[in-house]
């Protein structure tokens, strides 16, 4: 075991410090060290997107980033998407459109979709599909996920509430 180092980050708006070995991925740090198990492990090769989190506003696979690389970074995870008990419009629309079946891919999709809508408030279906291409879902055939993201964009436009950009 190599020695651990202290990593200082901001996670979902809060200053968070954690200790980890250099060989621990950010995903391991979130799940095993910080007990934030909302981000899921599906492949450990960056092919499924279940572990997607936002780093300084951009979606990345937390399985392909070392915990120590997170020093000084602003991290957002699915646990921070809702504002207290007010769900993010994406979360609400995922529920209304029945966009999840088993739900294991849902956190990753929500984070990729958040990154998209924060850059592009009126995406086309093609743009949504491109933005979500790095997230695999085996249950839904993507139909209801794509519809939910398009609908969430609409409702955010009409000013329901936009995601709290951490």
């Amino acid at each position: 075991m190599s020695k651990k180092s202290l990593v200082e980050t901001t996670i979902n708006g809060e200053a968070v410090e954690f200790l980890c070995e250099p060989r621990q991925s950010l995903l391991e740090c979130l799940r095993d060290v910080l007990e934030m198990t909302g981000s899921k492990e599906g492949c450990l090769t960056g092919d499924c997107g279940a572990c997607s989190v936002l780093i300084d506003g951009r979606a990345v696979c937390s399985c392909l980033m070392l915990g120590v690389e997170a020093q000084g970074k602003n991290i957002r995870t699915v646990e921070g998407l809702a504002d207290g008990n007010a769900l993010h419009p994406l979360q609400q629309k995922f529920l209304e459109h029945a966009s999840l079946q088993c739900g294991i891919c849902t956190p990753g999709f929500l984070m990729s979709a958040t990154a998209l809508l924060e850059r592009n408030s009126e995406p086309t279906e093609a743009e949504v599909r491109y933005a979500l291409a790095g997230n695999l879902c085996r249950c839904t055939g993507y139909d209801k996920i794509v519809r939910a993201v398009l609908d969430a964009a609409k409702s955010m436009k009409s000013g329901v509430r936009t995601s709290r950009a951490a």
Partner: protein, 770 residues
């Protein structure tokens, strides 16, 4: 149906409420198997065979045990003896010896990725390092990778003791031969105006659930054990783990975590017995999670197959004879779904003369597990493309030809007994009435294909309890792990029967000690069988509510009725009865339970009869790039007979998901083994499941031909939609570029090869014509 519909209409069933477990899943709070952690927990890893077929001469573990942080290593030597014969374990028919051999290889490694030993250590990284220190001496044997090789005389033998009914005491790789016969085949082909004979090969594919297998085993000093895991069947995990580890069933509690997809692949055990064994050895909780590579190499995909189909028809499109030969790769141990494939391949059609011969063949690949309508998709790829060719030869629309030959209520099934009410023709009509069918294709190299699928669906055992809370709300408890939103459906059925809002019902999935035996979430059976138990349990609670009201009112129970959440006298008019007895809501009545006999729990357990089989028909438009062989899907519509859709959104979801898996199967998914039998594509980069850029929106047509065997008309919806897509794609590709594909996946290299072949022959023909 008392309570369910005062005016013949459902109030809750058929609506689209938000699933009760939804919020936990969108905020990241839902606990899946890999999310569990316990004080003092160790992490387990599995050493897997690097050879497809090898004798295990020795395993040395002392070096691994010396690594700081390593607490235990187990091998097959730690497993109890198991009998080599088919046995009931829970509701599954299994061979205990084979199960044990699959959990940890005994004397032979039978596939690349076969578990050899397992380690428990204080961190997953240390456990991984320990695996490298385990020394295994192998004697490598020739790999047997295909049914062709396995069935050849003189082929290397996987199991020296394996015999089948026909070959007497001869060593063999053919575990079983199943046959179905009807009518006079020879006469049938004589009566045909033409005969089409084709051969098909379909590649082994994986269910591809996004959540890898996981388990936390906890074995206590008093011999009591608990397993937390993501499974489709907690009761099967209990009985199978008890079998393998040699712990009494009654000493094990299995807690089903949230499950991240299964599709049949999580109906058996891999890590569960190992985590229990390692916990037994170390006295610590042991958590094990597969990597994606382990999932692909070491869990159960579904069979690759070789299928030969010969069909005879008359000019006017009547199929008069069919002969089928099919061999499925079972993987390293007997038990492919070839029997189901045999019963499905001709199921949609009334064919007087037929013979089907089906062979279950062992090969050096992982033991296959169930996958959504197991065996039916391979079969449909073969049968439905030949039927398409018959339609073409006759110049009849492929849907019309299917209507002409299609089965209806009363038609004999391949297996003998006649069909009860079924909705095959109705799915064909739904497609013919779809906007998609009425639309036109818009460019060159585009084609439209159609195909049909059949699946039995399943019944089996389910238990349910409905508890009335003191505020008049209710909880419904079942033993069916919820993969696709079934908790919402169970709550809806309860709400419908009691006549209360669905938001007043809390559905939950209980562990194996907290609910009666319930078979796997599989066979499209949950909404059918568990739904039946829930319906009866809710009726039982409703009956007790009427009895309590009768007590309060001092009348006979049969003088009380329950409608829309309110109990009232059937005949309030009669003054001496009606006086001072105004209708009471369940909320009101609930406050009186303690003083009228105590709590109300409605109970039901079923071994469900009245299973209603399912049909689906899929229509797909494709565009083929004739220079690269790449297929783009332009539009896709699926029509399926579900009997009754309880929650239409999740019914559509099942239809869309099955269609997407069928499309992946048809176009790009396959296991690539090299000549040594080593799996090359052990990740999701090269095991190519469809991304959302590969699929269009998937249009659905829900067909509801009520199943007479279910109180709500439910058939089940989980499986059949995966069956038609590969054949529908093949038929669409033919219309786009004029080549008939006989292999899955129809990947660009395979398709381009056929396109170039055709181009060459076309040129020589036109040259000859000049």
């Amino acid at each position: 149906m008392e309570g369910t519909n005062s005016n013949g209409k459902f109030k809750v069933i058929g609506t689209r409420p938000i699933r009760h477990d939804g919020v936990d899943k969108v905020i990241g709070r839902a606990k899946y198997g890999a999310d569990y952690a316990f004080p003092g927990m160790l992490h387990g890893k599995v050493l897997r065979s690097p050879h497809a077929h090898a004798k295990i001469k020795s395993i040395k573990t002392d070096k691994a045990l010396k690594l700081p942080g390593v607490k235990a290593v187990v091998t097959a030597a730690d497993l109890p003896q198991a009998d080599d014969k088919i046995e009931q374990a829970g509701e599954m028919a299994i061979n205990p010896r084979h199960l044990s051999m699959n959990i940890l290889a005994h004397d032979k490694a039978l596939y690349d990725g076969h578990a050899i030993a397992a380690v428990a250590a204080t961190s997953p990284h240390i456990a991984e390092e320990a695996l490298k220190l385990i020394e295994v001496e192998y004697e490598v044997l020739p790999p047997v990778m295909t049914v062709d090789v396995a069935m050849k005389p003189g082929a290397a033998i996987l199991h020296p003791t394996l015999r089948n009914r026909e070959e007497g005491d001869k060593q063999t790789n053919v575990a079983n031969h199943i046959q179905f016969k009807r009518g006079d085949l020879e006469a049938g082909f004589k009566a045909a105006d033409f005969v089409i004979e084709r051969e098909f090969n379909t590649a082994m594919v994986h269910q591809g659930y996004i959540e890898p297998h996981n388990a936390v085993g906890i074995y206590n000093a008093d011999g009591q054990a608990t397993i937390y895991c993501s499974t489709q069947g907690a009761f099967d995990v209990r009985s199978l783990s008890a079998q393998v580890v040699g712990v009494p069933v009654g000493k094990i509690k299995v807690v089903p975590a949230e499950i991240g997809g299964g599709f049949g692949g999580k109906t058996t055990v891999y890590l569960e017995p190992l985590s229990l064994l390692l916990s037994k050895k170390t006295g610590h909780p042991v958590k094990m999670v597969m990597t994606r590579g382990e999932v692909l190499r070491g869990s159960g995909p579904t069979s690759g197959s070789k299928i030969k189909v010969k069909m005879g028809a008359t000019k006017d499109g009547k199929i008069v004879a069919a002969e089928v030969w099919m061999a499925y790769e079972a993987g390293a141990f007997p038990g492919s779904p070839v029997g189901a494939g045999a019963m499905c391949i001709l199921a949609p059609y009334t064919i007087e003369n037929l013979q089907i011969d089906a062979y279950d063949v062992v090969v050096n690949r992982p033991k296959t597990a169930a996958y959504r309508a197991p065996g039916a998709t391979n079969a449909a790829m073969a049968g439905e493309t030949v039927v398409d060719e018959i339609a073409e030869r006759c110049g009849i629309d492929p849907i019309e030809l299917r209507v002409k030959n299609g089965v209806k209520e009363g038609s004999p099934q391949v297996v003998g007994p006649p069909f009860k009410a079924i909705g095959f023709i109705e799915t064909l009509d739904a497609i013919r009435n779809s906007d998609h069918y009425k639309s036109k294709l818009s460019g060159p190299h585009q084609g439209r294909g159609v195909a049909t699928g059949f699946w039995f669906n399943a019944g089996m055992q389910s238990s349910a309890t409905v508890n009335i809370h003191t505020d008049g709300t209710a909880s419904v408890v079942t033993g069916s792990p919820d993969i696709g939103g079934s908790r919402a459906s169970m709550a809806m059925i309860t709400a419908e029967v009691l006549g209360i809002p669905v938001t007043d019902v809390r559905p939950l999935v209980a562990d194996t000690d907290s609910i009666g035996h319930t078979d796997v979430t599989g066979g499209s059976r949950v909404t059918f069988a568990t739904g039946m138990a829930v319906y009866e349990a809710a009726q039982d609670a409703a009956r007790q509510l009427r009895e309590r009201a009768a007590k309060v009112w001092e009348v006979k129970p049969d003088e009380v009725e329950l409608h829309d959440g309110t109990v009232s006298l059937k005949d309030p008019a009669s003054v001496e009865k009606g006086e001072g007895k105004p209708p009471m809501s369940i909320k009101e009545l609930a406050t009186k339970l303690a003083r009228t006999g105590g709590p109300i729990t409605g109970r039901a357990s079923v071994n469900a009869r009245g299973v209603g089989p399912a049909f689906a028909t899929t229509l797909v438009d494709v565009e083929v790039d004739p220079d690269t062989g790449k297929v783009q899907i332009l539009r896709c519509t699926v029509a399926q007979d579900v009997g009754k859709a309880i929650h239409p959104s999740y019914v559509e979801g099942q239809m869309q998901g099955g269609t997407a898996q069928g499309i992946g199967w048809g176009l790009n998914e396959e296991y690539f083994y090299d000549d040594k039998g080593i799996l090359r594509n052990t990740g999701l980069l090269d095991y190519r499941m469809p991304t959302c850029l590969d699929l269009p929106l998937i249009e659905t047509a829900i067909v509801e031909v009520a199943n007479p065997g279910h109180p709500l008309g439910v058939r089940g919806v989980g499986e059949v939609s995966i069956v038609p897509p590969p054949a529908a794609l093949a038929n669409a590709i033919y219309r786009a570029v004029g080549v008939r594909m006989s292999e899955t996946p129809m990947s660009p290299p395979r398709l381009l090869k056929e396109i170039l072949k055709k181009r060459a022959t076309d040129e020589t023909q036109s040259a000859a014509a000049d």
